[in-house]
């Protein structure tokens, strides 16, 4: 009576289960990818195409969004434009076709550079401090260690906006408002708690015997830390760095409150890109697309570290 094809395995999921799981994963991927794909497509649309209804899936791609992102333009009479020489670049041509001329570069590139400096600077600092602190918490008998760790975690419990005003006042007095240094310090302070907690977990996983062996082999604790512990913590450090970088890169609330000019990062700048008669959506989309690139590259570069196992099994557990 019973279907005698194969015995049912307890551990191995059945084919149907696998198929259903696969479909769910694909659906989830589509749902998360659609907004990104839409932004990417919008960045190549012309302004009228970007706001047309129903939305256009098929359109003639143009670099107008990218041109508008990187330039400021002024409107001129057709006669004036006629009097100019041949266009210097593709962007020049596109701009002239809209009866405008390029007046100069936009602020996007400086803002993007600010983002790079602030995000990578604060990530480096947070991971550096976090690694040392985590090692200390993991290996030494720190007085009140649990309370200190809780205190470190508690710095993340408030919404940033709750402390934004005091920080704003403090920074104004200290001359740190609208400076890259101020933003680096602020993001480091926020990220260091995440770094300490994440890295402490990774450090706890590294058996003490490695350092003890190295110290017996004639190394000081600091040398043992550098030569034996750090190489094994790379996975944890890479994972922590990615989390810190994503936070610092995407942070909006502090950036919008504490920066306005010289130190402004890309997130508060992108929504302010305004074209003729409203938002310049292709330019906004172009800015967002470029903004996504560094974090994508960083994650892909560190992917190997992330995937590699924590220890390679030389200590048997």
């Amino acid at each position: 009576m019973s279907n005698a094809t194969s015995a049912h395995s307890v551990v191995e999921p059945s084919t149907t289960t696998k198929r259903i799981a696969g479909i769910i994963v694909v659906l989830y991927a589509i749902i998360t990818m659609v907004p990104l794909a839409w932004i990417f497509m919008t960045s190549f649309k012309s302004p009228p195409d970007s706001i047309s209804y129903p939305p256009k899936l098929v359109f003639t791609p143009t670099l107008e969004g990218y041109c508008n992102l990187f330039t400021t333009r002024t409107r001129q009479t057709p006669e004036y434009i006629q009097s100019l020489g041949p266009p210097q670049s593709t962007c020049d041509e596109i701009t002239r076709s809209r009866n405008m001329v390029i007046a100069g570069p936009s602020n996007y590139w400086p803002r993007f550079t600010n983002s790079m400096v602030i995000a990578f600077g604060s990530t480096f600092l947070a991971v550096f401090l976090g690694t040392l602190a985590a090692y200390g918490f993991s290996r030494f008998r720190v007085p009140l260690a649990d309370d200190l760790l809780f205190f470190i975690l508690s710095t993340r419990m408030m919404p940033p906006i709750a402390v934004a005003i005091p920080i704003y006042l403090m920074y104004r007095e200290l001359g740190l408002s609208d400076t890259a240094l101020g933003m680096i310090l602020l993001y480091t302070a926020v990220n260091v708690s995440l770094a300490v907690w994440l890295l402490k977990g990774f450090m706890d996983e590294i058996p003490r015997e490695y350092e003890e062996a190295a110290m017996i082999d004639g190394y000081t604790r600091l040398q043992a830390f550098r030569k034996v512990v750090l190489p094994q913590a790379t996975t944890g450090i890479a994972a922590t760095a990615i989390f810190c970088l994503i936070f610092a890169w995407n942070e909006y609330a502090f950036a919008v409150l504490l920066t306005s000019g010289t130190a402004q990062t890309a997130p508060p700048f992108i929504p302010t890109i305004i074209g003729e008669g409203g938002m310049d959506w292709p330019a906004v989309a172009a800015g967002t697309t470029i903004f996504l690139v560094p974090i994508l590259v960083f994650t892909i570069l560190l992917r190997k570290q992330l995937l590699r196992g924590i220890t390679f099994g030389a200590v048997r557990k």
Binding site: A213, D217, G218, Y219, Q232
Partner: protein, 365 residues
């Protein structure tokens, strides 16, 4: 190579005393096994010698130099960890050469010495492999290689065979002893396995609750256990204890187990009446129809070369190691003949052995 002297060493973790007042000397080239159950303080003692823990009080001398509070890196000792602690991000060659690197030895010299060591341990063929793929025994050899490459003053080993399977452990016991014979390194070896300790060590220190219960050669520890604890811990099956109430006079050569007289080695001490125990190893019990000590056969474990028979007597269960071909039936009453020369007496209150002519031999020879 060097002599290790430990004087009144003591270690406390909060209220817990891990090691209490231990003193012993490991002579140059000697192999000492610290033997005891888990939590007896043997590993703590070893870690203090290594410099991985600092003692609460007491002294550690390496070749007469007081190193009690020296850093581990300044002691010139090697340590083999239970889990080997091979650096996973380095291959075998780099692992073995790592201690030399810290001493600033030239690259060519490191290469030469690593290869020499590898030849000694017969691991030359795996030098360029990653340590993660190695089998247990090879990892063990690499860990040993890392320890001996530097020719340190002494080796400390913390249950290095604990994670190997039984079959392989025997091979490694043999290899370790052979290695020791070849390089004559002063060695302190921590283990909870009496067979390892008996098979390898020149001296054994049996530890219990942070105290060294007995320090001596494997023969001494086995034949003349200083306490009931040692007698029970060493030997498989352990020593039998037959409890009885009596006092002892110096010069006595017989005791009475109930109504049964048993001759024992000449007693060299006086004991007030109290609970005593007669200690007898299973191999010193023979079945004899004429023996006055009698009991009923309770069961047997067949071991191939011989068998362990449990016999219930009025003083408690006695295990006897008898020839494998001896026949008997469960419940049968048998007589037990004890080998008089090899009997120990213990004071049950203190657990200590009562001095006798058997024990006096130890001191004089």
């Amino acid at each position: 190579m060097a002599e290790i002297r430990v004087e009144n060493l003591r270690k406390q973790f909060g209220d817990f005393t891990a090691v209490e007042d231990s003193s012993f000397t490991v002579h140059d080239g000697e192999f000492l096994a610290l033997l005891g159950p888990s939590g007896c303080g043997k590993t703590t003692t070893l870690r203090m010698i290594a410099g991985l823990e600092l003692p609460t009080s007491g002294k550690i001398l390496l070749d007469d130099e007081d190193v009690t509070f020296n850093r581990a890196s300044a002691r010139d000792i090697a340590f083999v960890f239970q889990l080997f602690a091979l650096y996973p991000h380095m291959n075998v060659r780099k692992n073995i050469g790592f201690p030399l690197l810290s001493q600033g030895v030239a690259k060519a010299e490191i290469r030469k010495r690593v290869e020499e060591t590898a030849r000694l341990l017969q691991i030359g063929h795996i030098l360029d492999r990653s340590v993660s793929g190695l089998a247990g025994g090879d990892r063990q050899r690499v860990a040993l290689g890392r320890a001996i490459v530097r020719r340190p003053k002494c080796f400390l080993m913390d249950e290095p065979l604990g994670t190997l399977d039984a079959e392989f452990r025997e091979v490694m016991v043999h290899e370790l002893r052979e290695l020791h014979n070849r390089i004559h390194a002063t060695t302190v070896y921590v283990t909870h396995d009496q067979h390892e300790a008996m098979a390898m060590a020149d001296k054994i220190a049996v530890m219990n609750h942070g105290i060294i219960e007995q320090y001596g050669t494997p023969q001494e520890v086995y034949n003349r256990p200083a306490s009931m604890y040692v007698a029970d811990f060493i030997g498989s099956p352990p020593m039998n204890f037959l409890k009885f109430q009596s006092g002892l006079e110096s010069g006595a050569t017989t005791i009475r187990l109930g109504d049964v007289p048993i001759s024992v080695p000449e007693v060299h001490a006086v004991r007030e009446p109290g609970e005593l125990a007669l200690g007898v190893r299973p191999e010193h019990v023979r079945f004899s129809d004429t023996a006055p000590l009698r009991g009923a056969v309770y069961g047997s474990e067949y071991l191939g070369t011989n068998q362990i028979v449990s016999v219930e007597t009025a003083q408690g269960m006695v295990k006897a190691r008898v020839p494998a071909d001896l026949n008997f039936t469960i419940g049968e009453t048998v007589g037990l003949d004890l080998n008089s020369d090899k009997l120990s007496l213990f004071d049950c209150a203190s657990g200590k052995a009562v001095p006798s002519s058997l024990y006096a031999e130890a001191r004089h020879g």
